[in-house]
């Protein structure tokens, strides 16, 4: 039997090959076929998820809500010390120094990453800014978001913190962090679908032992992770409740 695996499209592009290396390692270790399919955007991945195409998903917190509560997925592990945080950045020479200085009509550049967009819109609330009084241009990547800012085509840009920190020095030197989230409780999680849930304990054991040998440690490194930590059902339910409170 071959299982199907996908990864939230907001993965760091620098670790693209790492997910294929991880998939190969997982197949060998579990002694089963696993097909990895990656997507460039959230919409097409969600359509595939809606068709129940996947058994294993490295999900962002937003999609984890649907997968756990509506599709019967169970949590396996999360990467250690990798909470999802967001940054609102401005051009380095922008006169804006605080969120409260931003005004209606603000031009936002963002990707289609639902978690980042939600966190950043929350961070704009103190300025009474919403989707109804701002203009958003959605781009395919954070590099394009950064270029929009640098060119002056937008006033602020929404970034996943991890990706922002890995932008090239040339790009980052032309940007400035206006505000960054410190939520610390929201993170990506690897989930098993109903067809793979019977292997939950086995997969959790294998993944949390990855730091134990040189070869699997190298696989972790290729993903940019230090280790995996087991996530229990209640941890995930709590995160989903938290996400639910933020969707207002």
């Amino acid at each position: 039997m071959t299982y199907n695996f996908t990864v939230s499209p907001d993965f760091n592009p620098n670790h693209l090959s790492g997910w294929f290396i991880f998939n190969t390692w997982l197949q060998k270790t579990l002694d089963t076929g696993i097909h990895l399919e990656l997507y460039d955007d959230f919409d097409s991945q969600r359509r595939a998820i809606g068709d129940n195409k996947f058994d294993l998903i490295y999900a962002n917190p937003y999609d984890a809500s649907v997968l756990v509560r509506r599709k019967g997925f169970v949590p396996l592990v999360s990467p250690r010390d990798k909470s999802d945080e967001a940054i609102i950045a401005v051009r380095a020479d922008s006169a804006i120094t605080s969120v409260e200085e931003l005004k209606a009509g603000l031009r936002i550049s963002s990707t289609d990453d639902p978690d980042v967009n939600m966190m950043c819109m929350i961070m704009l609330e103190p300025a009474d800014l919403t989707v109804n009084n701002t203009l958003t241009k959605q781009s395919d990547s954070y590099v394009i978001v950064a270029k929009d800012l640098i060119r002056g085509d937008s006033d602020v840009g929404f970034f996943l913190e991890e990706t922002y920190n890995e932008l090239s020095n040339v790009i980052r030197s032309q940007l400035r962090t206006l505000v960054h989230s410190q939520i610390q409780l929201i993170n990506h999680v690897l989930l098993a679908g109903p067809g793979l849930a019977h292997k939950r304990d086995e997969i959790q054991g294998l993944l949390t032992d990855m730091g134990g040998c040189e070869k699997s440690k190298g696989v972790l490194d290729s993903l940019g992770f230090d280790a995996w930590d087991i996530v229990d059902q209640e941890d995930t339910e709590f995160m989903i409740d938290l996400m639910d409170t933020l969707e207002t």
Binding site: I122, M123, A127, Q182, I183, L185, F238, D244, T245, T248
Partner: protein, 157 residues
Amino acid sequence: MISMNPADVVGAYEEIELQHADGAVRRVYVTDVEMAMPDGRLIVSRTDPAGNITHVNQSFMEMAGYTEEELIGVPHYILRHPDMPAVAFKGLWDTLKENKKWHGYVKNLRKDGGFYWVYATVIPNIRNGQLMGYTSVRRKPSRVKVAEAEALYKTLM
């Protein structure tokens, strides 16, 4: 339930007796010192079904001025500020009892007698059809919304 201690209060204060919905009476000490909520933070807490605190995050402790040990097990109304009308909390509990999400602007009382405004959202934690408690998340509100809430609450006292 922790009683407020005048020794913890910073600055000139007013002493007020608060009657809570469960019949408890608590003496609080209130100053006019406001603490602004930092950008990008969320204050998170969980309670059991009776409203007693079971979990707080670091931002909660920093904003409220209490330690985790002081907070776990005590009613969430330890943060109740006397400027908040009782009807606002009745609305909160009525909404939660229908298993619905509640949100609103809340003025909270700090251990040192100061206060801070938040935009709060509370949801019931339902597991296998059973109510296990509540999760509350508070974020930084706009000053315009705070001014509106302040004016409204004065009419409801």
